[in-house]
Amino acid sequence: MSGRKRTLEAFSFELVMTVIAIIALIIIIAPSLVVLIVSFTSGFSLRFPPPGYSLRWYAELWNAWQLHFAAKNSLIVALWATGLSVVLGVAAALAISRSPTLSARLLDSLFMSPLVLPALAFGLAALMLFSLVGLPVSPLTLVIGHTVVCVPYVVRNTIAALAQLEPTLLESSAVLGASRLYTFRRIVLPLIRPGIIAGAFIAFMSSFDNVPVSLFLRDAATDMLPIRMWQDLEGKLDVTIAALSGVLIIATVALVAVMERITGLSRRLTN
């Protein structure tokens, strides 16, 4: 009798949890699928389901030179910001990862703080600094601003990779007479490389998608893709943006798949 009650009770719990989980997963994935489907519409509106299917808006995208220009700027800035983040971030991660000192803990908090502080406030602050020292907004100011908000991802992922490293490996390498540099190049770097790549990937994606910092540090000559899209959407609902969204979604899925292969991205983000 009580056993029967127990199974019913367990069943109700599992049913509720599973149903909510599935609904939540649908809510997460549905918007991307909807945009993907709408982007193939043959009509002029964002009606769902579309009246018919065609590639016309993708063809339209081919001629949208303003979007091309903004996409090129975003790509260049993201590549530079990622490169700078990797160089500065990996070095800093090596320094602070195994150090128990107070200064290392403080630096760690400092390097992580752009993740929680409102980036818009930082964007405004950076603009004021650059205008104070007489540096006009340019790709350079954008790269600097983006690096500040992207470097935490590199630092965090590199520190996580270093934490998994067996100290005995390095000790045996040293005992066998390898110099620190040689040990770093031949032992440490290959082992933490997937972590660095994962961090660089997330840094790249967040730079490419950055709005709050770009908002203050760009001008018409350095238009950035997310801002161009945002302004297009503020004005009118353009189906070209749906096609561009389709391209971005497919590119993201492809990149994530590649990164999953190379770095085991999914395990990295849940450890």
């Binding site: 719990f13 909510i20 997460i28 818009l120 004021m128 908002l215 979604i249 983000l269």
Partner: protein
């Protein structure tokens, strides 16, 4: 003797390697924020007169206070929705095989890496007058005139919840995977039902993950400029847009600076409350 190099730990590197990034942050992160603080303490745009005028203006202006209040409330609502929807995902993740686990993670991860403008745009398509929800409800004959879903608090909360869901779910998955599954079985075999086991064992032990997830979700939700402005529209004003309008459209930098500082302090206050709770919960969970 080789004692000197051996005394240096081969597994750690000198703090010197952190100097370039530390300098970079000092010049391009700390200095700008200090300048922001400095400017906010001036009463005029030329920054000639020191004073707390900007802060007094904000704190005595009902409109500014209501913007701050609705922003903080928005963050709480989004965080609550993310927690209720995200926890079952993390729970399900623990129950399925490795293949499904990877699929769940990738589904959760995808929005995190998809452009936020694209994600927000998707919600415009879903919530719009001719959007999926209205079209479905109308074709089923449930409603005659389209519901207003865009430009409402409901729309902003649901869109932001989807956009920020990964930030909640990933720490929860980590936290749940650290719980000893024997505790679950022990609780059940001692006669506690599944619901009771969940609320008395699983939930308390996962509190560090809950708090980490809430901190990230809350901070991200209240600063999500794009989603707030596109789904909320012109009638709903939150702190990021308020800041942007004052700084960019009105060129009132000292007031915009004061808004930034107040906003920063609000975020820091919330984060430190969560961190304190996290520290307490770790003591509880570890006991």
């Amino acid at each position: 003797m080789g004692a000197a190099p051996a005394s240096r730990d081969v597994t750690s590197y000198g703090m010197g390697l952190a100097v370039p990034l530390a300098l970079f942050f000092l010049v391009f992160f700390v200095a700008p924020l200090l300048q922001l603080l400095w400017l906010s303490l001036h009463n005029d745009t030329a920054a000639l007169h020191w004073g707390l005028g900007q802060y007094l203006h904000f704190l005595t202006d009902p409109f500014s206070l209501s913007v701050l209040g609705s922003t903080l409330l928005l963050g709480a609502e989004v965080t609550a929705v993310c927690l209720v929807l995200g926890f079952p995902i993390a729970w399900l993740y623990q129950r399925v095989g490795p293949r499904l686990q990877t699929i769940i993670i990738l589904i959760v991860l995808l929005p995190l890496l998809t452009s936020v403008v694209v994600r927000t745009f998707a919600w415009i398509v879903i919530l719009g007058r001719q959007g999926i929800i209205n079209a479905t409800l109308q074709s089923l004959g449930i409603i005659n005139t389209p519901l207003k879903l865009l430009y409402t608090q409901f729309g902003v909360v649901i869109a932001l919840a989807q956009v920020q869901m990964p930030l909640m779910t990933l720490p929860l998955i980590t936290a749940l995977s650290r719980i000893d599954s024997n505790l679950d079985d022990a609780s059940c075999s001692l006669g506690a039902g599944s619901w009771r086991t969940f609320f008395k064992i699983v939930l308390p032990l996962s509190l560090p993950g809950v708090i980490a997830g809430c901190t990230l979700t809350y901070a991200a939700a209240i600063t999500a400029f794009i989603t707030q402005s596109l789904i909320g529209g012109g009638q709903m004003l939150f702190m990021p847009m308020y800041l942007y309008q004052q700084a960019s459209t009105l060129q009132n930098w000292p007031f915009a600076s004061a808004i930034s500082i107040i906003f920063l302090l609000a975020v820091l206050a919330v984060v430190s409350v969560f961190t304190t709770l996290g520290r307490m919960s770790r003591g509880y969970g570890g006991a």
